[in-house]
Structure formats: structure tokens, C-alpha cells
Symmetry: C2
Subunit: 308 residues, 2 copies
């Protein structure tokens, strides 16, 4: 009997990897045989956190073929963000903090979603409900996930539950929340050595909106200009991705983690919908969104509303 695979979304971020590790450990303590895997190579921020807490990097899996057909999903549910052949899998459980869409099962399952800032915040609750002790390194990767998803607890997605969870986990992990978090986030902002194509794929998700297929990528930086100096190269790569994958609209959100603003760079059809959604006028395909840092809360619902 194969192990049950536990994984987060494609283009994994720190929560996708961290929640998979934490949920898999919890399930194993409860008597299940599971393995945390990833649908892509961890980014530099996540790798920093894994190294810091001396955790093994989960192996990358691209298909459930030759693996067990039973899976547990964390930090996502939409099939187009999951493993390529997710429709063939038996989904036993989902733990997530996103909207539900393009998801279905033939059988009843365990599904736990809460509108908090990070999947790992929910997983901390599950540990408590099941009265399972959290090892130091697991607490460390869960803390990293919360700090990553909430940009050091500053994102509008951050709830009081995320903040309390982060403090509790920092104590178990024996780190200073703020200084550790800033070092971890900075480790993920080294963009200069990446090609435009790699940069666009670091943290990108596809969203069906109305009849359109919208790709939304996000990168963190400490210097917006450094990224926007590469506008031409980025636009070429966006156009290339669109024609290759059938996206109708490509939005790159470049987020300054120090001052919590974002600049959009957009390509594709229906650019007027972007203007309508964010009440901005695009200049040279760009727009500055003051105070916007959350794709989930400040970008996807606004765009979805305009497309529907």
C-alpha cells in the first residue's frame, strides 16, 4: 500500500511546503502513513526556512502515476493549481484558506477551510484539537509559512488568529519572530539572477474568471524599480507564456515588502477590466496599487467581480 501524498499547490510558496510538512507529520502521529511532497522546487525563501530549521526538502512529484492514488491537499483546492492528474486521485482531506472553486469529489471527505491568513494557522488548531505536541522544527516551518503569507503579519489577510498562532509558534521554535521573518523574506527577494520566465513562475496561479483564463504571478522585492527596469523583458515573457498556455490575461504583482505597496504589470486582452477592478488607469501597462499586498484578498475577488 502506497503512502498517502500530502501536498500544496504548484509553484509552491512557504505555506504550500510548510503546511504539507506539518499536516503530514500530524497525520502520521494519528496513525496514517503519509508523505509530504511538493509540486515544484521550493523557492529561495522556503529553502531558507527549511535550512534554518534543518528540515529535509520534500521531493518533487509531477503526477500521481506510480504514486498512491490517495492524496491530501493543503493550501489549495482548485484543480488547475493542483497536481496534473488530480482528477484521477482520491482526495481524502483538504486544509485550506482560499475560496473554493473548480473542486469536486465523488465521495464525502474531510475539508477544513477557514478565512484566515495562512493554512498553517488552521493546522496549529488541528494539532491542539488532536492534542499532538508540535516538534520545534515543525513549529519553525509553520511560523515561516504564516510570516510569508502575511508579510510579517502586515497583510490585510492577517487575522488575530494568525498573529496569535505566529507568536505561539515562535516561542516553540525559539526564534525572534520579527528578525527571523525579515531575514526569511529577504532571502526570497533575490530576483536579479533569475530570467524573466523564472521570475514569472515563482509564485503564479491560474484563475478561471468568467470565460477567461487569468494568470496572476506575484514577486516580493525590497526595490520596485529594480524589477520594473526589466519591464520589456518581462512583457515579452508574459506574452510568450500567454500564447503557450492559453492565458487571456497575465498580471504580475510586484510587492514591496518594506512599504507594503504593489505595482502591477499587465499583458493580454481585457486590460480595461483591470482598470475597472482596481479603479486605476494603466500607464505603459503599469499601475501602482497603494496598500495592496494580497493577491487573495485584494486582487482575485475584485477581478472576479468584474469578470462575472
Amino acid at each position: 500500500m502506497s503512502k498517502i501524498l500530502v501536498f500544496g499547490h504548484q509553484n509552491p510558496d512557504t505555506d504550500a511546503i510548510g503546511a504539507a510538512i506539518a499536516f503530514s507529520y500530524l497525520q502520521n502521529q494519528l496513525g496514517k502513513e503519509t508523505e509530504a511532497v511538493a509540486l515544484g522546487t521550493p523557492n529561495e525563501e522556503t529553502q531558507y526556512a527549511l535550512n534554518f530549521f534543518k528540515l529535509a526538502t520534500p521531493r518533487v512529484v509531477r503526477s500521481i502515476k506510480e504514486e498512491g492514488a490517495q492524496v491530501m491537499l493543503v493550501d489549495h483546492n482548485e484543480f488547475q493549481q493542483s497536481i496534473s492528474d488530480i482528477a484521477e486521485a482520491e482526495i481524502l482531506a483538504v486544509v485550506d484558506h482560499h475560496r473554493i472553486a473548480n473542486f469536486e469529489t465523488a465521495n464525502p471527505l474531510y475539508y477544513r477551510a477557514e478565512p484566515v491568513g495562512c493554512t498553517s494557522t488552521i493546522i496549529l488548531k488541528l494539532y491542539k484539537e488532536k492534542q499532538i505536541e508540535i516538534p520545534k522544527e515543525i513549529a519553525g516551518i509553520m511560523l515561516s509559512a504564516i510570516l510569508s503569507d502575511t508579510l510579517l503579519l502586515k497583510s490585510p489577510t492577517c487575522t488575530s488568529e494568525d498573529e496569535a498562532a505566529a507568536k505561539e509558534l515562535a516561542a516553540i521554535a525559539c526564534v525572534d519572530l520579527t528578525s527571523y521573518g525579515l531575514e526569511m523574506l529577504k532571502a526570497g527577494t533575490n530576483l536579479s539572477d533569475k530570467t524573466a520566465a523564472v521570475l514569472l513562475d515563482l509564485d503564479a496561479k491560474s484563475f478561471p474568471m468568467g470565460s477567461s483564463n487569468v494568470r496572476i504571478a506575484q514577486v516580493n522585492t525590497v526595490d520596485l524599480n529594480e524589477v520594473m527596469m526589466r519591464q520589456k523583458e518581462l512583457e515579452e515573457a508574459m506574452t510568450n507564456e500567454m500564447s503557450k498556455n492559453g492565458y487571456d490575461l497575465f498580471i504580475l504583482i510586484v510587492t514591496n515588502i518594506l512599504d507594503s505597496d504593489s505595482e502591477l504589470l499587465v499583458a493580454g486582452r481585457e486590460l480595461e477590466k483591470v482598470e475597472e477592478a482596481f479603479k486605476v488607469q494603466l500607464m505603459n501597462n503599469r499601475a501602482l496599487l497603494k496598500g495592496v499586498v494580497s493577491r487573495k484578498k485584494q486582487v482575485v475577488p475584485q477581478l472576479t467581480a468584474v469578470f462575472n
Copy 2:
């Protein structure tokens, strides 16, 4: 500001009504302003339970127009089983024990599903997690829901958690589980005074399967023959419902609650898929399914697999 509406599925059964009452009460204790309503008149079994525990019958709501646009769903998630204009509503929470399908939101939400026999079993957990005391009459309607969904704890959908929950709730409600449960179930088996159309609509749900629209109704009885004597009248009503509502296949499950078997009566296209799903040969559009009592666990997945 309107109250948040809490409701179960169309053609409400005792769990749809009971879980709505119990979840609404819990949410109100937690500071939300909610009202338990129903998407149809309670059946006789449910009315027996409401009367027994001296609970008011929830008012029937057919549309969220002129109501609040914020809703919480219990005991269902599929839009075609929900209120007619569910797509206009903001779904804040779902508590359910069914597969997830034909469900989507624009925003993150609270979603709690577990593969147990009854929504009210999950709601009992929520009361404990939030440390809210359960009033006697609320415990009574939750117990009724569990006994109804699990046919006195005998259905294959019944888990050890449902059994433990039923015992705990029976103690709070001060009733003998078995004798109360049998009286309640029997109150729902009085079919003789109902027209075929009413009988088919008592507990019926629609399921998109492949490209087909499948309607599956279930009735409980203590005498299969009493129902099947009306086969001709039932078949005419099924055919009528199909042409009126565009169903491709109509399945009536007649369940004997005393010996835990069911007889199917089917009408429509693709009857061979019914034979394939249950490995039976239809005789006169009927087939006896020994040991089958659960639509959710013993009928829907088997049929879905054949249609996909």
C-alpha cells in the same frame, strides 16, 4: 442589517432542519445574528421531532431576495440542492458531510466537512470546540438528525463518532435513543395519504453525472409492498417530473427501515447504467438492493463512477 440565514438543502430532511437550528443557535451564542430557516416544509418525521422537543418550525424561504444576502449552509453544498438564487449570496460558512461538487465562492470562507454520517455530529464537535453548552431541545433535534441520517445507527454511513455523538446527545435530551428513534422514523413512513408527486418530492436531490441530470428520491417505509403496489402511479409521476424538470434519469429508492434493504424503481434514459452500477438486472423497472440504505454512500458514488 439583515440576519444571516442558515439553512439545509431543498426537500429538507431532519438533518437539514436540525443542523440549521443547531448551527444557528451556536453562531448566535458566538455573537453573530443568524436565523435558521428551511428551503421547504419539514416532513412528518422532522415535524414529529420538532414537536417532541417543543421547537418552533423554521419558516420556509425560497429566495434570498428581500432577505439578507449572507448565508450559512448546512448539510449540503451543491448549488442545485440549495436556494434558487444561491449564486447571488455571500456564503460565509458551510458545515456538511457530503461530497463537494458544483460549489464555488469568490472569497475564502469557513468550510467544515467530515466524512461522518450526519452534519449534526460535526456540529456537536463545534459546540465542544467553542465550549458552548447545548440546551436540551437543541440536543434533541441534533439527536433526531443523527438517528434519521443513520437509520437508528444502522446505515453504513454511520461512524463511531456518530454513535458516540448520539449517545451523548440522548443523555442531554433525556430520551431513550432506540425507542425515541423508532417512533420518530415511523412518523415519517406514513405514505398512504400522499400523492405520488408528493412522495417523490419528500427527500429528493438532483445530481449532475457526466452530461446527465439524475434525480434520486428516497422514502422510508416499514412495508416495501405497500409502496410498490402504487408502481404505475409512481412511474407516471416520475415521467412527468422528468419532462417538467429535464431529468434524464429518475431513481426512487424505497428503503425498509426495519430490515435495512431497499428496492429501486427507475424511469428515464440510460437504465443500463443503473444495472451496471449496482450489478443487478432490472425487472419491470425494479431491483432489490440487499443491505442498501444510503443514497450518499451506496448509490451516488456507484452511479457517478459509471456516468464518468
